[in-house]
């Protein structure tokens, strides 16, 4: 059943310039070690009409409806909140690494500092105050946002779960792609 409160990232891929400000904003807010990135930006070189162009995909945890990390975790460290956010209780994590292998989006990392898993939680300490996560506030071209995505999907024909480097998956990822231009 679909969660009408489901929060997800809303990514206007056609406007992303690959600058990685989102990555850095996330690292700074979450005070991450330098080699740990919850959010990454990938470049794809694709053909459009007769020309090659660059397209970027900014991605982190997809806060899946059917999260692989949660399924495989033997310690029940993962839970889904009412707003659909998949959160990790690091006190329960034993560092077995199963979630890291299970996640199809490469969203979970092992922190060398304590040998436990870590991932994007959409900056819930900000979300719970009615604010936006660090990556969204850190995007200088405003191509990243968060919203209740089921409502977006029903209301707007320019929103879908299809983009360059992103598409449907059995884990039911909850990022949507906005496409206003061709």
């Amino acid at each position: 059943m679909k969660n009408k409160h489901q929060l997800g990232f809303v990514f206007r891929q056609e406007n992303c310039v690959g600058c990685q400000a989102c990555t850095i904003a996330c690292q700074i807010h979450n005070e991450l070690p330098e080699d740990v990135r919850f959010r990454k930006v990938d470049r794809f070189e694709v053909k459009r009409d007769d020309d090659m162009v660059d397209v970027w995909l900014s991605h982190s945890c997809m806060h899946c409806g059917n999260p692989a990390c949660l399924m495989v975790c033997p310690s029940q460290a993962y839970t889904i909140r009412n707003d659909g956010l998949v959160v990790l209780d690091r006190e329960k994590c034993t560092g077995c690494g199963l979630c890291i292998n299970a996640c199809p989006y490469d969203a979970v990392v092992m922190l060398k500092t304590d040998g436990k898993a870590a991932k994007c939680n959409m900056c819930i300490e900000l979300i719970d105050q009615g604010l936006k996560p660090a990556c969204v506030d850190g995007c200088p071209v405003k191509c990243l946002d968060t919203d209740r995505i089921e409502q977006l999907l029903t209301q707007s024909h320019t929103v879908s779960k299809e983009g360059i480097g992103y598409g449907h998956c059995i884990t039911k990822p909850n990022m949507v792609i906005v496409k206003e231009r061709l």
Partner: protein
């Protein structure tokens, strides 16, 4: 005991600063309730201070800092200013990391080993001032004041930090005059030859444009925040056209993108104009009222065929026609021309040709059209004559050294400047700059920097490649550790830089350093007693009409002021040219030895055979994650690669180079190793590598960097740097 840099960083001040910062860094380990870590919010509290970013970028973001117990804890864009918005670029967002970088220099030091050896001894500021003053006075007595040269540019773009602070000292001492012409000067002449100015319209008027044309510019590298507005315009129907040999992100997103071979812009413009003339898409009324020489332009266009244009530029003609059609069909085009593409031996000629597109289509004088290049209304309107102490200079005819020719001026046996013998330089202060990796021809610069008879003082925040070759190093405070103001060179804003924190360790801001050094030299002038606030007031005491109604109190209160620049620019149809009109045929160009209308000359025509015969043109462009040589040491940012070379897949195939292979670029100036990035983002026959990367941080070998390869020959006009007119050989390392 030998004291190296590491020992210094264990000093008390450094430890105090770093540990108090880490006190706010509970990190992931402190998470309590199911993933919630409210400790992460602590850094967002505290006193608010407004301070504008002073990197050399057209954006000029107004930043909002949070300060707790004297520690800078957090930075965002100041939303109050719509131009900046909540998010500056990633560099702006990393200013806490930049300021508290673990490798900040916090004490003065004196060289104890050979130049470049990296052996230092800690000294006090008093000792530093005494030694510098003694040596400078000695140099002035023995060789004259012109034997001393400043080297600085845009590491700090503050009106005080960049200009007034150092210039007071240089004007008073009567040093050689450094021509800081690395950036924009070729196009100044090119644009003036056509329409008499390089000042342009309000960039915020892009919302009124039918077409936004980006030419030789990468908005992501310089001015990321402007893309917000461009996107907003696109959502309202504005078309995006792009021309650039290197496929920038906006090129990828453009409605039509042309990827010419580097420096073939004159031919490309000729092709576009030819089409506009043939299809009668030119603006006849505008041409007859506001231009002269149109018949000569038509004649010149007859002298080049589409076949030739296609062969030279590599742009398929159908694509060029499609592009020209959009330009011709739409009423208002705003053209944004970059600074990079004019850094070529034909830079002035190319920029003239590009501007000609706006002239034939009548794209001047209305809101939403025009050409944006260097809008220095705000920056240029400040009273730098007074603030920089120009009245103190007793030798206004002192020798002038173009900073691009630094290696030539420092030559061990035959110093030259502007192709003539110059007086030898015996003393230098490096600040706001990193000449070893920023000036072209790194190896030649190093030959000069290694001279034992050259006394060099370095004032910087971190141990750059250039500081390694200094005799005395003094620690610079960051821009955030002092007060300043700044005038925009893109929008029309003047903005504050209010002091965020006290200087770290024993570091001193630019003006404190030069003021105290002046005092140590025995300068009794009033100019060397002034505070930063005094200088800010002098800067704002200006005759510039744009500054009407702007004063110190208002600026400090409002934090940013958009100057009153009459719009639309050039609305009266009067141009600052000999004829008073736009000149399709220019005597200025003819007098410089070029064709008065459009000159077909290419950089290769002016290269020595040993360079011309090399297989690749080398573009060394800016990248979004650095500004010139800054940010190479900054946490998070430094992890993003800046030592790669873009290679077209067909070239890579021919050289059997694969993605991520290590490759060597070389020419007669030197060689440098990079990691291959195979991409169609550059045209076949051209390579691109990030500019101004450091020598000692190159993970592929510390004996070469981008500028080990680049030319120090100047542009056709304006005396600008011409980095991109460089050719190289490519090999697998």
């Amino acid at each position: 005991m030998k004291i190296n840099r590491r020992t210094f960083l264990q000093g008390a001040s450094a430890t105090a600063v770093l540990s108090s910062l880490s006190g706010l860094t509970p990190g992931m380990a402190n998470a309590k309730v199911a993933g919630v870590n409210s400790g992460l919010l602590a850094k967002r509290n505290g006193r608010v201070v407004y301070h504008s970013c002073l990197r050399n970028c057209a954006a000029r973001c107004l930043l909002k800092f949070r300060v707790q117990d004297g520690i800078m804890t957090y930075v965002t864009g100041a939303e109050e200013q719509a131009k900046t918005g909540k998010a500056p670029c990633l560099k702006g967002q990393s200013y806490v990391q930049y300021t508290y970088a673990a490798d900040r220099i916090l004490h003065p030091m004196e060289r104890v080993g050979k130049k470049g050896e990296g052996k230092w001894r800690r000294i006090s500021w008093e000792q530093a001032y005494e030694k510098i003053a003694k040596r400078f006075n000695q140099i002035v007595n023995e060789h004259g004041s012109e034997a001393i040269l400043p080297y600085s540019y845009s590491g700090n773009y503050g009106a005080i930090g960049m200009s007034a602070s150092g210039e007071r000292f240089w004007n008073r001492i009567g040093s050689s005059i450094l021509e800081r012409k690395v950036c924009t000067y070729a196009a100044y002449d090119g644009l003036k030859s056509l329409y008499g100015t390089f000042l342009g319209p309000d960039p915020e008027d892009v919302l009124l444009s039918d077409v936004y044309l980006t030419w030789g510019h990468d908005e992501v590298v310089s001015n990321t925040i402007a893309i917000k507005l461009i996107n907003q315009a696109r959502d309202r129907g504005t078309k995006l056209l792009a021309v650039n040999p290197q496929r920038t992100p906006l090129c990828s997103q453009a409605d039509i993108y042309l990827q010419p071979r580097p420096s073939t812009d004159v031919q490309l413009c000729a092709g576009i104009i030819k089409y506009l003339v043939e299809k009668d898409l030119v603006n006849h009324e505008f041409i007859s009222e506001q231009t002269v020489g149109y018949d000569e332009l038509l004649k010149r266009l007859d002298e080049i065929s589409y076949d030739e244009i296609e062969t030279i530029t590599g742009v398929p003609r159908d694509k060029m026609f499609e592009f020209a059609q959009v330009l011709g069909e739409n009423e208002k085009t705003m053209l944004r021309m970059g600074y990079g593409f004019q850094r070529n031996f034909n830079g002035a000629r190319m920029s003239r040709a590009v501007a000609m597109l706006q002239a034939v289509t009548g794209n001047f004088g209305k809101r939403g059209n025009g050409l944006i290049y260097d809008n220095v209304h705000a920056g240029g309107g400040l009273n730098q004559y007074q603030a920089s102490g120009k009245y103190m200079r007793k030798n206004p005819d002192a020798q002038r050294i173009n900073m691009t020719e630094l290696a030539k001026a420092l030559h061990p046996s035959h110093p030259t400047s502007h192709d003539k013998p110059s007086k030898p330089i015996h003393g230098m202060i490096i600040y706001n700059g990193n000449p070893v990796v920023v000036a072209p021809d790194t190896n030649a610069v190093l030959d000069g920097m290694k001279r034992e008879d050259l006394f060099v003082v370095g004032h910087d925040m971190v141990m750059t490649d250039s500081l390694q070759y200094c005799d005395i190093i003094v620690p610079a405070a960051s821009q955030f550790e002092t007060e300043d103001i700044v005038g925009d060179y893109h929008g029309y804003y003047v903005q504050v830089c209010q002091k965020v924190i006290e200087p770290l360790g024993e570091s001193k801001c630019n003006w404190t350093f030069f003021r105290e050094l002046g005092q140590a030299m025995g300068f009794k002038d009033e100019a060397f007693q002034a505070s930063n606030d005094d200088i800010i007031k002098e800067l704002l005491d200006t005759d510039s009409p744009y500054y009407k109604g702007v004063n110190y109190e208002r600026l400090m209160k409002e934090k940013y002021i958009k100057l009153d620049v009459p719009q639309p620019v050039l609305a009266d149809g009067k141009y600052d040219t000999p004829s008073g009109k736009i000149e399709f045929s220019s005597k200025l160009m003819a007098d410089a030895g070029f064709h008065p209308v459009l000159d077909w000359g290419l950089p290769e025509d002016e290269m020595e055979p040993r360079e011309r015969d090399l297989p690749f043109r080398l573009l060394s462009s800016g990248v979004p994650q650095r500004v010139n040589s800054s940010f190479y040491n900054v946490k998070y940012i430094r992890a993003i690669p800046a030592y790669y070379v873009k290679i077209h897949p067909k070239d890579a195939q021919q050289y059997e180079i694969k993605h991520n292979d290590r490759v060597t670029l070389s020419n007669h100036r030197g060689e440098a190793k990079f990691v291959a990035m195979v991409t169609t983002g550059v045209p076949q026959g051209s390579l691109m590598t990030p500019k101004c990367n450091w020598l000692r941080l190159n993970p592929n070998g510390t004996d070469g960097c981008t500028n080990s390869l680049t030319t120090d020959k100047l542009t056709d006009m304006g005396g600008c740097s011409a980095y991109h007119s460089t050719r190289v050989a490519l090999a697998k390392a």
